[in-house]
């Protein structure tokens, strides 16, 4: 090996070392210290360092974070804007479905530009946790909410609660004909009267729960039967509520809050939520968030999650979105039922459900949805 190539290789190694140093969280300070020859610190550098220190004291966080939001823009944009205004953090948001973003994050791995994943369902969060892409959150953040609404290993934390429910058109549906569990919807009397959103993340979460609780075979049978009954497909939950209100749909499988929002806007709309007596059709689940290990701005990412637990954010979730607040001391909106009166399956293990997500998607597809 000649001298030239040795020099080239060592130069490359040095460059590599420098890059690696910069990528690490502690590396930055070290790299800055080494940047000039020892003893030669310019005035400008001193001023910059002092300014940086002062800025850190005023607000602990800054810079930019990218949020992958599986929650709709109309539901969270205000909260995000308030966070940005209060902290001075620049926030970029990529909106898509929770399951799609979970899949995207799994595919991106370490190159992900995202700092925070905000999901409408625990199963999508579980998929990201399963891939080992989340940092464990600090105890005090996890302790903000009840134990049922956090990941058992601490990778993500709930930010609000929602329940699966049926939206029914009260002009065409009587209470007596409704079943006690989701399996009861497989009945001739519901032929052509059902609506669902097969690609909705909460629907997939419900099917994952059903596989966990009742076994693959029973779920596959149910899905095929529902498809055979004839159903109306919707891209998401809100249009089902609108269709029920317009009299176009009798029964839609949704999350509870769109019905309440519609009723809050026009109380005489002839629709209502029906909460089932038990099983996964009555599942209460958290929407939540986690900080990605690949984040370059973890302090701001964590600050955002803490902000979601603030009283103002929790009040937004319950009074504007009509979800269950999760932080103690925030009063649930009056339209909400008592969360303890709902019959969600006890002790659901969210990370166990996440293992079924792929199977759930496969069963939904195989049933012909």
């Amino acid at each position: 090996m000649n001298k030239k190539s040795i020099a080239l290789i060592s130069a490359l190694l040095m460059l590599f070392a420098a890059c690696a140093g910069e990528a690490g969280p502690q590396g930055e300070a070290g790299a800055q210290g080494e940047s000039g020859p020892a003893g030669e610190v310019s005035d400008a550098q001193v001023v910059a360092a002092v300014e940086a220190a002062l800025a850190e004291e005023e607000a602990e966080v800054g810079g930019t974070i990218v949020i992958y939001s599986g929650r709709k823009e109309s539901l969270v944009a205000d909260v995000i804007a308030a966070f940005a205004a209060e902290t001075g953090v620049t926030v970029e948001v990529r909106y898509a479905k929770s399951a799609a973003l979970a899949g995207t994050l799994a595919l991106e791995g370490a190159i992900s530009p995202a700092d925070v994943f905000l999901s409408q369902d625990p199963v999508s969060l579980g998929v990201v946790a399963k891939e080992g892409l989340f940092d464990v959150l600090p105890e005090d953040v996890l302790d903000n909410v009840p134990a049922w609404a956090v990941d058992q290993r601490g990778y993500w934390v709930g930010t609000s609660g929602r329940s699966r429910s049926l939206v029914v058109d009260t002009r065409d549906v009587t209470d007596a004909e409704l079943p006690g569990t989701i399996y009861g919807l497989n009945d001739e009397k519901f032929r052509g009267r059902l609506g669902l959103a097969p690609s909705n993340s909460s629907f997939i979460a419900m099917v994952s729960c059903m596989i966990e609780q009742d076994g693959e075979e029973k779920v596959a049978e149910w899905l095929t039967a529902i498809n055979g009954l004839g159903y109306t497909e919707y891209p998401k939950n809100s249009p089902q509520v609108a269709a029920a209100a317009a009299g176009e749909l009798d029964i839609g499988m949704i999350n509870h809050y769109y019905t309440l929002r519609t009723l809050a806007e026009a109380g005489d709309t002839p629709i209502k939520n029906v909460f089932l007596d038990g099983g996964c059709g009555a599942m209460v689940m958290p929407a939540g968030a986690g900080v990605l290990s690949s984040s370059q701005n973890k302090p701001a990412a964590l600050a955002f999650i803490e902000y979601l637990h603030s009283t103002s954010a929790q009040e937004h979730f319950t009074n504007t979105v009509y979800e269950f607040p999760l932080v103690a001391g925030v009063t649930p909106n009056a339209l909400l039922p008592d969360i303890d009166s709902l019959n969600s399956p006890a002790d659901l293990n969210w990370s166990a459900l996440a293992l079924w997500q792929e199977k759930a998607v496969e069963l939904i597809a195989a049933a012909g949805f």
Binding site: V66, E92, V93, R94, A96, K97, A99, A100, A102, G103, T104, A106, L107, E108, I111, P113, S124, V127, P198, S199, I204, E233, P235, K236, S238, P239, A242, A246, G247, E248, Q357, E358, V361, E362, I364, A365, A366, G368
Partner: protein
């Protein structure tokens, strides 16, 4: 003539870069973690294939029927106002299928506009138009103009000697069409029919809004479910495969060689129609124009006015307008730039490589946008993470499918640049660059600009690639229309849809007629 090294090199580079989505798919197909059969067993592949292919045949059949009938009526019969009728019949071409579907879905939903208008008759609910029927209607209405443009131009150039001979032998007028005229139009019919077919199997917006399960809808559904590699790649690969077959058959029935005659074609005298038949023809034309043009525009106007009266914020569409223009300008500029070496090579240095290059570039036109988008998405994540979710990657993806339009524009004008001009110039001692600057470029820039304008408009309307690849915070009018319409928020979708149509209507019409009837 020997090909300059620089030209060869740059074209090879373009070729490799542009074939990457296809290469990537092939590579993924060979490295699936599961057996090929398992897809067919557990992923409803047969059902989706059946739906896609039956839609293909249904729309091709109806589009050819409508397009051919209008061509014959307007070219061969004495219809007053035929010019304006022709223009009106081609205009549905400017309506992207997802906007067309939006208008039909919202007008004919079970309690939609149609029911509201006719509620005085006691009508309270209809079976909404969706699924197979809805997709069929919408795709037919917005693709038959391709058949009309291509077949009417072929019909104009068709020599009438054979027809007149048949007529003098006493063959009745109907038989003349079925056994003389239409068989001689076989090539343009197949060509335009398959063009429609390519559009159908690649279409994503209309079938999604109509909730009809085709392969494209499955791809997008899996994208939304989660990007669990295998199924989404499998369906995208399957779709590319289907498109390449159709594209190959289409290319082999080259329309320019169809129905040619030696010398100038004899133009037959326009046939006078009886009053009764004339009424029938007018009724037919007006029905088509009503459903293809008047109804969609009226429905959009209705939503627009309702949106304004509800006080929707017009400024909400601003970001989409800026995004659409930025993307379209960047893409068309780059398309012109990249098409130049290809055009020069194909027209000036005829060789086996150049005809191969031409074939490949033309085949790119048929690639389904959604499948290309999926491929670029995976390539950028797995191989080029530095451009992942970047504006640059989005533009590359647009260029792959729209470059053929720029090449087509350049090629048409390049035919004016005779090899002898170049030889004369180099004989006079001019350098290659100077020859290009003083001779080639002035002759081809108009054609390049026309091609670029076509790319501009296509980019403006593009939907599926934008949905998959757009950078965080980047928005286009097409995305706005789509996301509002898929949520049923028609008043909000109408703003962007209207601007999009207004911008593309006139130039699309001019360009598509010129381009397709060439």
């Amino acid at each position: 003539m020997k090909i300059p090294k620089g030209l060869l090199f740059s074209n090879l580079l373009i070729l490799i870069a542009f074939l990457m989505p296809v290469f990537y798919m092939i590579w993924r197909f060979f490295t699936f973690s599961r057996s090929f059969e398992s897809f067919f067993e557990s992923w409803n592949v047969y059902g989706l294939l059946f739906n896609t292919i039956s839609m293909f045949f249904a729309v091709v059949f109806s589009s050819v029927l409508i397009g051919l009938l209008i061509s014959i009526f307007l070219v061969r019969f004495d219809i007053s106002g035929s010019k304006i009728l022709f223009t009106l019949c081609t205009l549905p071409l400017v309506i992207p299928s997802y906007i067309g579907a939006l208008t039909y879905v919202s007008a004919f939903s079970p309690k939609g506009i149609f029911v509201q208008i006719f509620s005085f008759t006691g009508l309270s609910e209809i079976n909404g138009i969706d699924g197979f029927i809805g997709s069929w209607i919408v795709l037919t209405l917005f693709t038959y103009p391709y058949v009309l443009l291509i077949c009417s131009s072929a019909l104009r150039n068709l020599d009438s000697t054979v027809e007149e001979a048949a007529r003098s032998l006493g063959v009745n007028r109907f038989r003349i069409y079925t056994s003389v005229v239409i068989p001689r139009l076989k090539k343009p019919i197949i060509y335009s029919g398959l063009l429609v077919g390519l559009y159908v199997i690649s279409d994503f917006g209309a079938v999604s809004l109509m909730r009809y399960s085709t392969i494209t809808k499955a791809i997008y559904t899996y994208y939304e479910f989660s990007l669990m590699g295998d199924p989404i790649i499998f369906y995208s690969g399957l779709l590319i495969f289907l498109a390449l077959i159709i594209s190959f058959i289409q290319r082999s029935s080259d329309v320019s060689r169809a129905a040619t005659v030696s010398g100038t074609p004899r133009v037959p005298a326009k046939v006078e129609l009886t009053f009764r038949n004339k009424i029938f023809v007018y009724l037919f034309l007006i029905t088509v124009i009503f459903f293809g043009l008047i109804l969609p525009i009226t429905v959009l106007s209705y939503w627009l006015i309702r949106g304004i009266s509800l006080g929707n914020d017009v400024r909400a569409v601003f970001g989409g307008v800026v995004g659409s223009f930025t993307a379209s300008i960047a893409t068309s500029f780059l398309a012109i730039l990249i098409s130049m070496p290809i055009v020069i090579m194909v027209s000036q240095y005829k060789s086996r490589f150049s005809s191969f290059l031409e074939k490949i570039i033309l085949a790119l036109y048929g690639l389904p946008h959604l499948a290309v988008g999926v491929s670029i998405l995976f390539i950028t994540i797995k191989i080029f993470p530095s451009i992942y979710q970047s504006f640059f990657a989005l533009v590359i993806s647009y260029l792959i499918v729209f470059l053929p339009q720029a090449v087509g524009g350049g090629q048409a004008s390049m035919e004016q640049v005779k090899t002898s001009y170049i030889e004369a110039s180099s004989g006079l001692g001019k350098s290659k660059i100077e020859t290009f600057r003083t001779i080639t470029f002035p002759l081809i820039y108009r054609g390049l600009l026309a091609g670029g304008a076509l790319v501009f408009l296509s980019t403006m309307k593009e939907l599926p690639q934008t949905l998959l690849l757009r950078p965080t915070g980047f928005n286009t009018m097409a995305v706005d229309v789509w996301s509002f319409a898929s949520e049923g928020l028609f008043t909000q979708a109408a703003f962007s849809a209207f601007i999009l149509l207004a911008i593309s209507a006139i130039p699309t019409y001019i360009l598509s007629t010129r381009n397709l009837s060439r």
